[in-house]
Symmetry: C2
Subunit: 219 residues, 2 copies
DNA sequence: CCAGTTACGAGATAGTGTGTATCATAACTG
DNA sequence: CAGTTATGATACACACTATCTCGTAACTGG
């Protein structure tokens, strides 16, 4: 058995990943063909398919390497519960590898890629959080935190002239991290009828609409 | 000039939209070809392109009709500031047209489609909100609210057996609507250094990491 | 109801990208 | 150094897109 991968394989894979990063910096993802990747990386077209099933698989690999690299750096901050520091670190990392992140987060990356990044980040955060998962809603909160951050980053990457890095980090911390951290210090409202009723009393108690009327399309 | 559209046009477009809804219920979006849409709708292949530039354009039209229909229904609740009612209405509407929403929100709908739905919802919410936009950050908050809700819905549509409609509505209200509504009653933290400093003092004041170290890919 | 306009169906066609197969050659590993 | 394995080059079948043409059917405005 060979524990060590063939040197040619690691070289080829790295060349393909680098070509993907380069191309993603100069055109939208949907305009990048396998042929172009092969040409740019000086790798044979047929060889591409010996390593990746399709373009998306390569992009997912690129995202995996990047995410792993970042999570390794931010891990100590997560353990220290330094939310603002973690947010700053995130924004700095994204800015340091701007073009590829614009493609991955703000560009039209396929569902496979996004799902992979999300899952990876969720697993890491889940492993670093204090309390064990206490219900089905905990997964949802975790999902909400990670994907909301990705959304804010997507907005930032499209409007980067408006907001600088540190401000963006603070926004992330104030609109996502701290509010959801506060949720844990409160009873899980959705499953507590008394709490929910108390909340409702605070708002304008509008008449509950019966339901939806006309369905536009048959289902 | 003809103010009224040709009857054949509305019939053809409706047939194409309905075919898209049907097909989206039985296979992933990327597996739906223009040929299949033409066949299912009993519309000629060439005729498809007389109405839509591509598959995405048709899907965007479908999303537009649905979103418009829903926003019309939820408008009174928005005016009454009934956040929980609006969230309930949203979940009910999504559930009433489940398959197409699974494709549009949780499935791999292209960037064009998602952007269209987002823009449409943002415009409506912006029109119905109390205060006029007071800064560049207001757009970001608006974006955050709408896209975070879409994210939560995407999660729900993939784990619908876990959480019922009313619970989901409450989650949306508690994790997105109310927290962001509360933000408006506080000074906009990110641009207020004093407030930010006060916040930081509350958290564990971790040493500020200098910056990111090794770049994996050249940029 | 009719004449002019317009949409539609059917079929052909060019172009592009994907994914697989084959075989000789070069490079790596142990 | 010998055996194994990755790679390069090329060819090919296939699917889908997007456009064009022409004859026919349907609709609109008067």
């Amino acid at each position: 058995m060979s524990m060590t991968a063939d040197a040619r394989v690691v070289r080829t894979r790295e060349a393909l990943r680098q070509a993907m990063v380069d191309l993603a910096a100069e055109r939208p993802l949907e305009a990048i063909t396998v042929r172009a990747i092969a040409e740019r990386s000086s790798v044979s077209y047929a060889t591409f398919f010996r390593h990746y099933a399709d373009k998306e698989a390569l992009l997912a690999d690129v995202a995996d390497v990047l995410t792993r690299d970042f999570l390794r750096q931010v891990a100590p901050l997560l353990r220290q519960r330094d939310r603002l520091g973690a947010a700053r670190s995130l924004c700095a990392y994204v800015e340091a590898h701007l073009p590829i992140h614009q493609a991955l987060i703000a560009g039209g990356a396929g569902e496979t890629v996004r799902a992979g990044m999300l899952r990876q980040a969720m697993e890491t955060v889940a492993g670093a959080r204090p309390t064990a998962p206490e219900g089905p809603l905990d997964d949802l909160v975790l999902f909400h935190v990670v994907s909301a951050i990705l959304n804010l980053l997507a907005w930032w990457l499209r409007n980067r002239e408006t907001v600088d890095r540190d401000t963006m980090a603070e926004i992330i911390e104030r609109t996502v991290l701290t509010p959801t951290a506060a949720l844990k210090r409160q009873p899980p409202a959705a499953l507590d009828p008394a709490q929910a009723a108390a909340d409702r009393a605070g708002a304008i108690d509008a008449p509950r609409r019966p339901n939806i009327a006309a369905a536009t399309y048959r289902s």
